[in-house]
Symmetry: C2
Subunit: 322 residues, 2 copies
Amino acid sequence: MCVRRCVITVGDLGEFGVVNRITGRLPHSRAVILGPGDDAAMVSAPDGRVVVSTDLLLEGRHFRRDWSSGYDVGRKAAAQNLADVAAMGATPTSIVVGLGLPADLSLAWLDALTDGFGDECATVGASVAGGDVTRCDLVVLGVTALGDLGGRSPVLRSGARPGHVVAVAGRLGYAAAGWALLEAGARVDTPPLQEAVAGHRRPCPPYAMGPQAAELGASAMLDVSDGLLQDLGHVAEASGVRVELDPQAFAVGEPVAAAAKELGADPLEWVLTGGEDHALAAVFPPEVRLPSAWQVVGRVVEGDGVLVYGREIGRRGWDHFR
Amino acid sequence: MCVRRCVITVGDLGEFGVVNRITGRLPHSRAVILGPGDDAAMVSAPDGRVVVSTDLLLEGRHFRRDWSSGYDVGRKAAAQNLADVAAMGATPTSIVVGLGLPADLSLAWLDALTDGFGDECATVGASVAGGDVTRCDLVVLGVTALGDLGGRSPVLRSGARPGHVVAVAGRLGYAAAGWALLEAGARVDTPPLQEAVAGHRRPCPPYAMGPQAAELGASAMLDVSDGLLQDLGHVAEASGVRVELDPQAFAVGEPVAAAAKELGADPLEWVLTGGEDHALAAVFPPEVRLPSAWQVVGRVVEGDGVLVYGREIGRRGWDHFR
């Protein structure tokens, strides 16, 4: 019996109670023809091809429950998969989520997580089509996003050619700066520093720029998940070209600059190597007139690798096994 | 340096080495237009709708590495999702897999897991379209399967009507019997007992019977993952009917009977409540002439719940939080 303070947990509800709780909170988008509750969901794929991307997120490795709310974790987990779909030039239609949940997890945290999934999907007109729930000692999220190309060709990593320009849309360095502030235990008491921390907790991928880049004729594209240098290294390798970046061309966001000042760090390092902002990096033929959301930061030449300041400074980024 | 016994591990390869290792071993099916290596994969969805199901499998909860080989785990993880797709009446086209792997996991185990995914998919003409790899203290598998309905209507859980017949295709009770043998530490030295244990390690869902049932006009269908009583309880609830099972109608497999004899257990309990065999249970209008793969085991009447021996014996099955 609960006398003083009663926290309802996932274990109190049981598996089917948890599933009902989650599905009851989630809105449905039009693309989801059949939502949760059967063996499988059914999602519209008018293009006749479906774009699909999956990620596994683990408590302690990809997020910390003391640093991020359930809502933040839900938004971030959805965002990083929706961004992968957008980076192909597709419009996201839905996600499905496999949840590993501790029995003592509070229902409030689960509700917030659910709302985070739903709200992030809603920013692109998608919704949660289905999922799976199991008990686990730590929070584990397996998120899979689906998307539709609307008749467009997918934009791969392999189409960059010498003479093309490299451009980015969205934030760079925010998540890394926010993480560094939290890890240093810094006082986060000004709006720019708070925005950097918010950038770690919840990325803001420029989803609409993905299909836009495809329409504009982008020759290569990806979302920046492991750091710009490392990710553009994949483009260089897949395309058989060299990418030369102009460090002067990067507009360093005020939150990144403020965090760097606070910690005595180099803001450009976060911009070039910080992952998890899920900006889009794309390569365009030189004749393409780019909308203002795209910031030209480099060019494609003959050769290999990624060069900054005229030299290859390595593909510093996150390798999950080292 | 390795002098005596050198086990190459996942950690030795690093994240990108692991990804390359996995993708290098996997065959491609025709439905996978773009396989692993970009932000997202692209899979054919000629029907204009895509069926999608996801599951999270955890070491220690859903499998044990000392009881199952990597190959068995890969086949089982793929099978349980492909079966969900088949249970909608769809033909599986692909899976995507999120892998959490310990750094000290042997490369041999990972290779076997990969082959298990690939071989199980190959049984239905599907393949692994993409995935994600991250480090984790235990093996975590997030598997999502996609499928195509080929113009058919999906077979839901909600279409059962009084007067319809209940039939099953595939094995029942094998996985539960095998699990019981392993848990009891029984000597598994006869072919029937070995087959029961193999049934725990690797289910054999009757995939082709899913689309077949849809073509025959099944009014409801699901795959038996939590136990027949519990799963038919979902059909009863979703359809607003009662399901009456005839326990005499079940053909108890020889491996199940042998394991029951060995352990002094009731084989019918495993048949009725054992999960993880991923048989298909379907409901058909009475005029449908069923092929021999379908075994009629009950009927649908007015009311609610699932009855055996004329009484409701509960929906015993697996609840992950209790």
